[in-house]
């Protein structure tokens, strides 16, 4: 187990390194590094001084070394707009995004699994068919459009829910959170639903497919032949089997939920990292862009690692293989 973990960590390290190279090249070769690292307001003399000060006159591999070295110390430059270290800026916006993303994941589990179970147990029923038809919309509708429609109906027409912002927050561990106040929760309802929509459809379809696949299995019939009740058969014998792919996908999709938060946060003016990156791209605040990309890459690799770990915990067959 430990050697397996070590191997995975080394692999992850290599992917991170590869991504630093890609980001570095993207910024330095495709884009103009002077534009990226030096404020566009600077004049000619300042630029020349800055180029030397930043080491942009040195060979590219040396520059990469410097970039990597400071990145490892958590220094990815300062934001032009906020005049704050880019990494700290992103870290300060991260809780807002994380709370939205986690709520969206919870929603997709709480709604997706029961709906999928229903559709899987009663595939021919009207409800089952409706659920499946609805899930197609969950996949194909553009996130931002659904967000707009939610605002139009629930904020503008009905006036039930607030349309933008985080609402009132409450500090926990020195970080403000929306989910701790009623007002904050009300503000979260629409963005979280919007973000969760595609994932609800995905979890629902996976669950349904899993149920349809597992039910005809001999071990399900054997479980029933043992005299077990339908609840025990469904929630232990069926669920334990289909949970493996569902957990995997939910874990892997956590990354894309954070990526799609970019859209949802823009629609609902939710002050998270996604909103920050869009604003930064629009004003060409490039240190923040670089820091965001590095952060996301880190996050993705971390998530993949966690999912792999979970997988071995859940599936006894994998667990045994990796031990040998």
């Amino acid at each position: 187990m430990t050697s397996w973990l070590l191997r995975r960590l080394i692999q992850a390290l290599f992917v991170v390194l590869a991504m630093t190279v890609i980001v570095f090249l993207g910024v330095n070769v495709i884009g103009n590094p002077v534009d990226i690292l030096i404020s566009p307001q600077a004049d000619q003399a300042e630029r020349a001084r800055a180029i030397i000060a930043l080491g942009l006159d040195r060979p590219i591999w040396e520059q990469y070394g410097t970039f990597l070295w400071s990145a490892m110390q958590g220094d990815l430059g300062k934001s032009f707009v906020f005049n704050e270290p880019a990494l700290r800026l992103i870290a300060s916006r991260m809780p807002a995004t994380l709370e939205l993303a986690v709520t969206a994941v919870l929603l997709s589990i709480v709604l997706g699994i029961p709906l999928g179970l229903y559709a899987g147990l009663r595939p021919q029923s009207l409800g089952g068919r409706l659920i499946m038809a609805g899930s197609i919309f969950g996949f194909s509708l553009p996130t931002f459009w659904v967000g707009l429609m939610l605002i139009m109906v629930f904020a503008v027409q009905l006036g039930w829910l607030p349309s933008t912002g985080r609402g009132q927050t409450e500090t926990l561990f020195g970080v403000p959170w929306s989910f701790l106040t009623r007002d904050g929760l009300a503000h979260m309802v629409m963005p979280a639903t919007n973000l969760a929509l595609g994932n609800i459809a995905l979890v629902l379809r996976l669950t349904r497919a899993g149920v349809r696949e597992t039910l005809p299995m001999d071990y399900i019939k054997f479980a029933r032949a043992k005299g077990l009740g339908p609840a025990r058969v469904l929630f232990v014998h069926v669920m334990k089997n289909i949970l493996i792919p569902i957990v995997t996908v939910i874990g892997l999709e956590f990354g894309s939920i954070i990526a799609f938060a970019v859209v949802t946060e823009s629609v609902f003016a939710w002050p998270g990292m996604g909103k920050l990156i869009i604003d930064s791209i629009n004003v060409l605040d490039r240190p923040v862009i670089v820091a965001y990309l590095m952060m996301i890459v880190f996050l993705f690799i971390f998530i993949n690692l966690i999912v792999d770990l979970l997988y071995t915990v859940l599936d006894p067959r994998v667990r045994l293989d990796s031990r040998e």
């Binding site: 931002f144 459009w145 139009m152 904020a155 894309s256 869009i278 791209i281 629009n282 996301i296």
Partner: protein, 292 residues
């Protein structure tokens, strides 16, 4: 009795789903609207001489000073939304289809090459595909646009770079199956040139799955373009696609002027759903596993 050609059989099987036929009809109508935009719109929405700021933000059905009826209302510039939407469809479809096709050509070629030549080339291409697909499309597109800046061509480039991997994976999968068939061996025995073998013999037989994902990918490309434009990272204001029209109307929606965002949204939705309906049926018809 008339002999059944593969095409007539295909047409018959496709027509088995009325929903898919409806989707196809809608797609054709939308395509025709987009193509004929200058001929059929009541107004050229980008000819500033035709616009009157006094007509700004009129509700659907209102009339302009010179008697023109705005069936879907006007935006803040006094632009007829109906005309704006039809012109917007043109951009959305153009960008969507254009980048999906380019991505299709690049991705399929790489996928075919990977399957046919194997070895290091295959490993390299497929690793790249895996890496690409492990990051969400929106993120990759954001990265590219952050580096390259906005613009129609850059958006198309970003979408192409996002989408090629799916084609490559599909093409490789199909080609791996076809490669082992006798007709490829026969062609190899004839010592045909490699490119001819790849593109004249292998490719046509890998087409069905590529057509299926091609349709779906066009819908995805349109969605992605709309999303990027909505975020202000896509097409410039001078060439507004549906996504940008929706973004423009967003600020007025909160004050109840829904139509500026709503109708372009409906147009976008109709397009995407119609293409998906066609794609779903194509998948059923062209999937050899479901063949009786």
């Amino acid at each position: 009795m008339k002999e059944e050609t593969p095409f007539t059989r295909f047409r018959k099987e496709f027509a088995e789903s009325p929903l898919a036929v409806l989707g196809l009809v809608v797609v054709l109508i939308i395509a025709a609207l987009a193509l004929l935009a200058p001929l059929i719109t009541p107004q050229n929405p980008y000819d500033l001489a035709q616009l009157d700021i006094m007509d700004g933000r009129l509700a659907p059905g209102a009339k302009s000073a010179d008697g023109l009826t705005f069936w879907l209302g006007t935006d803040d510039q006094g632009r007829d939304m109906l005309s704006g939407i039809i012109y917007g469809l043109r951009i959305s479809l153009g960008v969507g289809i254009g980048s999906a096709v380019v991505a299709g050509i690049i991705g399929s070629s790489l996928g075919l090459a990977a399957a046919y030549f194997g070895g290091r080339l295959e490993t390299a291409i497929m690793r790249l595909v895996d890496l690409q697909l492990s990051f969400p499309a929106i993120l990759v597109a954001l990265m590219i646009l952050a580096v390259l800046g906005k613009g129609v061509l850059n958006v198309m480039l970003a979408i192409t770079l996002v989408e090629w991997a799916r084609y490559a994976r599909t093409a490789r999968g199909a080609a791996l199956v076809e490669r082992r068939r006798e007709y490829i061996e026969a062609a190899e025995c004839l010592a045909l040139p490699r490119w001819r073998l790849l593109f004249r013999h292998l490719l046509p037989n890998c087409m069905p799955p590529l057509i299926v994902i091609g349709t779906i990918q066009i819908a995805r490309a349109i969605t992605l373009e709309a999303t990027l434009s909505f975020l202000g990272l896509g097409v410039p204001i001078t060439e507004p696609s549906l996504g940008l029209l929706i973004a423009n109307g967003y600020q007025y929606m909160l004050s109840g002027k829904y139509w500026i965002s709503f109708y372009p949204g409906i147009a976008l939705l109709t397009t995407i759903v119609a293409i998906n309906l066609v794609g779903d049926q194509l998948r059923d018809v062209l999937n050899p596993r479901l063949k009786r």
